[in-house]
């Protein structure tokens, strides 16, 4: 692997809803990633992208988002669960790129008011990630009953999530390194 370049792992906050608790989860995971040596990260809020909704796919590509996905070796998607799936606007944003994702790692952080922590939304992601060319990892972080996990200022109340997020990031970084090595060195015959 080209050690001169840090691993780039942006965190995508995947909801535009007012009062979103997912913002606290995204900030927490972003902070944990910032502590990792050899990793650079950024927080991408889809509410700030303001993609047009009168077209779709690569026709609405945002140059900053595209550049961030091209730089990325892995992505963390922080998503709430809406009606047992992930937000439509998040899909709209993800659909705006393709070549940028190929053979890169993806990890999902689910957030919900209920106890399952976005588990059903995470399952819905799997065929989408596959078609986008992303490689899904087998660790998730599930922030269930999220109003008990963070206070109103986003401070973590339940510290079990530190260790869970560490496990998740360990696997994501391993996969990111392996896939970067492959993209750099292993040619398709």
């Amino acid at each position: 692997m080209n050690e001169a370049r840090l691993l780039s792992i942006p965190v995508i906050l995947g909801t535009t809803r007012k009062g979103r608790m997912s913002a606290h989860a995204a900030q927490f995971v972003f902070g944990q990633l910032q502590k990792r040596e050899g990793v650079t990260t950024e927080l991408i809020d889809i509410a700030e992208l303001k993609l047009p909704v009168d077209d779709a796919g690569e026709a609405v590509k945002d140059p900053r988002f595209s550049a961030a996905m091209e730089r990325a070796d892995a992505i963390v998607i922080v998503s709430p669960e809406y009606n047992h799936s992930f937000p439509g606007l998040l899909k709209h944003v993800l659909d705006s790129c393709l070549k940028e994702y190929i053979h890169k790692a993806a990890g999902i952080v689910g957030v919900s008011a209920g106890v399952f922590g976005g588990a059903r939304a995470i399952e819905h992601f799997q065929p989408v990630l596959r078609e986008l060319g992303l490689v899904s990892i087998f660790w998730d972080v599930n922030f269930g009953t999220v109003e008990k996990v963070f206070d109103g200022n986003g401070q973590l109340l339940d510290h079990v999530y530190v260790r869970r997020t560490d496990k998740f990031l360990n696997e994501l970084i391993w996969m990111a390194k392996v896939l970067r090595y492959g993209r750099e060195n292993i040619s398709l015959e």
């Binding site: 730089r71 393709l98 070549k99 190929i102 053979h103 060319g133 993209r183 060195n185 398709l188």
Partner: protein, 57 residues
Amino acid sequence: MRCPNCGTLMNRHAEKPIKDPHVPEGEVIASIHYCPRCGKVEAELEPLLNSEINFRE
């Protein structure tokens, strides 16, 4: 393919079928190239061969 950013030889690491309503086959193949030096990604579109079509009417 050479990297348009830094001139390094890029690694062709994937071929991905992509839906394209503008071609009779309904799909094209994107060859994906990655620059080992700077991380630039490039895609080249290639027509699908008849023998590569999965679903037929």
